[in-house]
Amino acid sequence: MAEYSDRKDRTITTRWQTTGDLAKFILSHDLNHLDDWGGKEAVREILPEHFQKNFDMIQTDLINCLLEEKNKQTAMAFADNISSWGEWLHAQLDEGKKVVYHYFIHTIEPLLALDFAPICFEILSGLTSALYTDGCEEGIDAIEAEGYPDHLCSSNKGAAGYLLKGYIPQPSCFLKGSAPCDTSNRIYEWAAHKYKVPLIVIEAPYYMNERAHKFLTEEMKRMIVKLEKIAGKKLEQDKLRYYIQLSNEAVDYVAKIQELRKIVPCPDTGWHRPADTIFTAQLGTPFARDYFKALYENVKERVDKGQGVIPEGKKEKRLAWGYTWEAFDLPFFNWLENKHGAIYTEDTLTYFPMDTEMIDTTNMETMLAGLGRRMMQMPMARQVMSFSDVWIKDFVDISRAYKVDALAIGGHMACKHFWALNKLLSDKVKEKTGVPTLRFEMDMMDKRFTSPAELRRIMDDFFATF
């Protein structure tokens, strides 16, 4: 049995680790639905005691979604990832490694090479929201009680609340790219001030071009000098190369999966796609590489067999998510497949551009230049380190390449930059490709804003017009 920490400051990460192990335990049994074993209560009774409390917290619909035959393989990869990552993180903390909370548009190879314990701040909210019945609402409520405005981003609020409550480890540093939004910039400033630790900011360039790339590469160098000072050691070329190679392998799998998703019928399931954002924030670790490798093998197997993921007899409708979706309801995407035959092609938060390059690991200079370019291409950073043209072009290209039938956009209520762009995006995609857009209001990680039932109603209405 794995060791689970009972330290308060590991509440959230231990919860994930336990959920990963619990999911692996359940998935290893011949079960396609909790009802096969007499329902959730009956299953609880036969679980080892150390899983029972965690089991009570997990969304029932999510468990049933993961148990569906088509989702089992990716569910196992997901469970493996959060279990191994949790175990690894706790080992790093036990060794006394310093915690750096970073924004999700960063790749973390330099942090790993400098022996930090990196934790993506937004993923703390996102994954907790995705897995548990109570989501990350305790964190959101805690930070709002502190005075943080309720209309700002829940992805920052959940994690900041956990920090306040002492549920996650104390930071040594915060690392923040200044794009895309003021909301996130402010909360990182607040947290650094509150916990009296440095905040390293990577300034965002104004556009996606060579000048911007050079600027970001210089920002990378500046960041490394600051990180070296906190780490008390110099960045070693070979160590950085090792983590970048892992990162390259993961990105290569992502690119291959993206290519396969263009096939009709779509060979990839939708439930894990919001979760893929989590693993993008792990680029540079073996966990991300292993996760995307498992996804690729799952998708490739379906392609080889000529299989899709929607029920037989349904006509496939190909959706692209022009911006966000709700992280709190992963089974929603499985429901879309099963009820409406709607598959998930691409989205803004996991999409790597079709011309994504591998990082050249020849020497320190090429690696830093590559990291600068990758940061420029990271999901969401790419779209907002520019005027609206990059975002629009991406979705015109996606609509064509993936033979998209409709664009769906969950408008995250805190995202001012998106609300400034949303009509331009949908109008241009319609004009260039004829693809219609569904736009609706929601909060990515707080289901109290737009509930799962409401989301399903919105979708039912939309698909009825097809």
Binding site: P436, T450, F463, A464, T465
Partner: protein, 260 residues
């Protein structure tokens, strides 16, 4: 063949019994705390007006926000499509539908064949909805049904600086405290509501004929405001109560489904 269509909306539940000659019977019941009972009552009333039993109705269809409260087996129809199908059947020249319901206002652009081209809903905002009018009527101690009868020249209506239902209520109280005549406040409210709906219509191109449905479409003052702002006529359907269009659409969608 008889078809039952039931639209469980935010403020009222509407049921129609549709037969070969058109609507045979209908009911509109205002929702209260127990939606399941309201739905049962509305259905019971409609079928008893039609003089038959539920078992005699071959096809049953439901739509609206509370459709899951319909207690018998039925097909589920999307409200947008229901509105498009029903309006197209009654008024084939319609190209824009403005459904002003209890909680949500929806503007739908449809093709010559009645297919939905584009639609827009007010979503989280209650401005432009019956709920906004209900709040306003409560603040003014008037009946919501009476608000539409007040039509006064534009220069005389009270200015409403907000389209938000919540802030609107406090603005009404401020006008009352300033001694503004209730009819001028009502005229201001209706204009404000019409203005937010007109903006939605404009965003979808405002193509004529524009047909208004939903409970708020019974408010002539709001319709007049929309027409004034758009410079276009807004039509209501004389052959059917404005609130019943969604329920009729559910019945027609179910009929289409059977014919396919």
């Amino acid at each position: 063949m008889l078809i039952l269509g039931c639209d469980v909306g935010a403020i009222a539940t509407k049921t129609v019994i549709f037969g070969d000659t058109g609507i045979v019977a209908y009911d509109i019941t205002v929702n209260n705390g127990n939606l399941k009972k309201v739905v049962e009552k509305s259905v019971d009333t409609a079928i008893s007006k039609a003089g038959m039993l539920l078992e005699c109705i071959e096809v049953k269809a439901g739509t609206g926000m509370g459709e899951q409260y319909i207690p018998f087996e039925h097909t589920t129809e999307g409200i947008i499509k229901c509105l498009a199908v029903a309006v197209h059947r009654i008024h084939p020249h319609a190209r824009t539908i403005v459904d002003m319901g209890g909680l949500i206002t929806t503007v739908i652009s449809i093709s010559e064949k009645g297919k939905v081209l584009e639609y827009r809903t007010s979503d989280k905002c209650a401005s432009g909805s019956g709920f906004f009018l209900k709040l306003a009527a409560q603040a003014l101690e008037l009946n919501v049904e009476d608000l539409g009868d007040i039509i006064i020249p534009c220069g005389e209506r009270a200015h409403m600086g907000t389209q938000c239902a919540v802030f609107g209520e406090s603005e009404i109280v401020s006008h009352m405290n300033d001694g503004e005549a209730p009819e001028k406040i009502v005229a201001g409210i209706n204009y404000s509501l019409g203005s937010s709906v007109a903006t939605m219509i404009n965003r979808l191109g405002g193509i004529q004929d524009i047909v208004a449905t939903g409970g708020v479409a019974k408010n002539k003052s709001v319709l007049r405001a929309i027409e004034e702002i758009l410079g276009m006529e807004v039509i209501t359907l004389s052959s059917i109560d404005e609130q019943l269009v969604g329920a009729l659409g559910a019945a027609l969608c179910a009929q289409q489904r059977m014919q396919q």
